[in-house]
């Protein structure tokens, strides 16, 4: 009441404050993260250096030589290939499985809700620990899974330590951890679809495959896209599962970007190469994340705009 008695002063006083307020509020969070931008630019700089920790005398600026070297480096192409295969394989499997499970759980029954909560548990398990759990289960001496597949006629399955099955094994762990993520997102999507088109289709006796491909799938597409892009962003950077399971081995079988960069840095102490690798991965994720954020904003508007 008192403030309305003298309208001029408070407004004048607060003009600066009002303009500065949002900056003041977001500044601490930003400052906290500015510290992270410094090592980012350092990484860019390192990627332009010949820089090996074990040969400090050779350190020098070599422009884009690290990147140019990649073109003729089969190790790099292997890294790129494995990363793409790993990301593609896990995301496709998780999408198909997640969608199937979401459709099984679509009806809001008490059992379905209970199962969907249970399925959150793998997602809540630290990926590194999940890899450890599967390592115990696939141990050639006592692992329950090794025993089960030996009954099925594969007596000497070596899982993560055999080049032929290593990719399969880490993919299995990834699918175990992250399929629930796809599932809960797609389940939320499925349950939010308007019932009218489905009721009309049921009334007209439209075949179910037609309903699925022509109604469910197109209406669910924004959710599928968001979930897939999100998973792709994480999966191409996978480190925890692969490192905890096989450390990138056997041989060069699972040397994805982050594992390779880690080994380049700490084992080969080739800082320049490791930084250049990370910059390339960053460029890939940056492009992907821009697409994701656009998609995400669209979906968010849709989910929140109605209410």
């Amino acid at each position: 009441m008192t403030s309305s008695a003298m309208p001029g002063r408070p407004a004048k006083q607060s003009r600066f404050a009002r303009k500065a307020l949002p900056y003041l509020l977001s500044l601490p969070a930003l400052l906290m993260c500015i510290g992270i931008l410094i090592p980012f630019f350092t990484a860019v700089y390192y990627s332009l250096l010949r820089y090996r920790l074990n040969l400090p005398a050779m350190k020098g600026f070599i422009w884009f030589q690290n990147y140019i070297n990649f073109f003729s480096d089969p190790k790099f192409w292997n890294t790129l290939k494995i990363s793409l295969v790993y990301a593609g394989l896990t995301v496709v499997l998780e999408l198909l499985l997640g969608l199937a499970i979401a459709m099984l759980l679509q009806k809001r029954t008490r059992l379905n809700n209970f199962i969907s909560i249970l399925l959150l548990l793998p997602l809540m398990t630290a990926p590194a620990l999940a890899a450890l759990m599967w390592k115990l289960m696939t141990n050639p001496n006592f692992g329950i899974l090794s025993y089960l597949v030996s009954i099925l006629g594969f007596p000497d399955m070596k899982w993560g330590s055999d080049p032929a099955t290593a990719l399969f094994t880490v993919t299995l762990v990834d699918v175990w951890v992250y399929t629930p993520f796809m599932m809960i997102l797609l389940l939320a999507g499925l349950r939010s679809l308007p019932p009218a088109p489905f009721e009309a289709a049921a009334l007209d006796g439209v075949p179910r495959s037609f309903v699925f491909f022509r109604i469910t799938l197109p209406m669910l597409m924004p959710y599928i896209l968001t979930a897939t892009l999100f998973r792709l962003l994480d999966s191409i950077q996978q480190f925890d599962i692969i490192y905890a399971m096989t450390q990138g081995g056997p041989g060069d079988k699972l040397l994805v970007f982050q594992v390779q960069a880690y080994l380049d840095f700490f084992q080969a102490t080739n800082v320049g190469r490791s930084a250049a690798l990370m910059i390339i991965l960053w460029a890939i994720t940056y492009a992907l994340s821009n697409v994701f954020i656009k998609q995400w904003l669209k979906l968010r508007e849709k989910a929140h705009g109605v209410g």
């Binding site: 977001s26 992270i36 499970i101 099984l104 793998p122 997102l185 939320a188 999507g189 968001t226 480190f239």
Partner: protein, 285 residues
């Protein structure tokens, strides 16, 4: 929709059972393993019949591990404490920094506002080793290697974007009218924020905090690069434990169970918010 045949019901039932088995079995099996002696774990064929023992858990809690070669010191409780400390401190700091910023992004249209918000979000998607590797060299010079402060600071990379974006969504969903009314009644901006905005967004803030805690707890690579044994959380500690203990499988299983129970309990509390949080608020749970 309700004219599902019996056959279809049976098939659905079987499929659901397979799904539950696939996703629950590893947890169930490791849980059983944690109550077995090594002899019972190494039996072939594996069997469900065993006399449960608490010795694995006792060994972890007391820090004394009995092996064939004698007694071995282990420090898993320290790892557990590190996880609690790192995750809680990171989340608290992230909330203190993130909630006001989230409010600013939700309520004010200001120059660079959206750019700042996106920069902060982009940290969520950048490869962690990109900054961690140069950071490990800086940390050495600054003396931050293997300190809680250094780790908690980098953990902001996990917690802050998450809290910022989920809480921002909550503030945006609240109508600003009540806050305007409060301001007109003569309260300061800060009083309005503290007495009206924050309490109303509290469910969202709590959910974001819980989720950030889970992500921080589950993180592996930050501490792998920046911490040594005495500051490592359970994720890194459990892996080191495998190398150190070699064949003490029951204790490895017990260590895994110890490490995953906190996130499981939190997830059960927060399950209503998990969907929304995991998708950065893009999907309503």
């Amino acid at each position: 929709m309700d004219h599902t045949s019996t056959l279809e019901k049976v098939i659905r039932g079987i499929l659901l059972a397979l799904v539950v088995i696939f996703f629950m079995f590893p947890i169930f099996w490791i849980f059983l393993m944690s109550f077995q002696t090594n002899e019972s774990i190494l039996r072939i064929p594996p069997s469900l019949a065993f006399t449960p023992t608490l010795e694995n858990y006792i060994a972890l809690v007391t820090g004394q591990m009995k092996t064939a070669a004698g007694s071995l010191q282990l420090n898993f409780m320290q790892n557990l404490w590190n996880s609690v400390l790192l995750s809680s401190a990171s989340v608290i700091i992230s909330l203190i920094l993130g909630v006001p910023a989230a409010y600013a992004f939700a309520r004010f249209k200001f120059r660079l506002g959206e750019d700042i918000a996106f920069t902060l979000l982009s940290f969520r998607f950048a490869p962690p080793l990109l900054v961690l590797l140069p950071l490990s060299l800086y940390f050495k010079t600054l003396g931050l290697t293997n300190t809680y402060i250094g780790l908690i600071w980098v953990y902001q990379l996990i917690c802050l974007p998450l809290i910022l974006w989920i809480v921002r969504g909550y503030f945006e969903d609240l109508s600003p009218d009540i806050e305007h009314a409060h301001r007109i009644a003569g309260y300061s901006w800060f009083q309005t924020f503290r007495k009206i905005a924050v309490p109303l967004a509290l469910p969202g803030i709590a959910a974001a905090g819980l989720l950030a805690f889970i992500f921080a707890w589950n993180n592996f690579v930050f501490a792998l690069v920046l911490a040594s044994a005495d500051k490592q959380p359970v994720t890194v500690g459990a892996l080191a434990f495998v190398t150190a203990s070699g064949i003490q499988y029951g204790q490895i299983a017990a260590a895994i169970i110890f490490s995953i129970i906190p996130t499981f309990v939190l997830a059960m509390f927060a399950q209503r918010y998990l969907v929304e949080g995991l998708s950065l608020g893009a999907v309503k749970g």
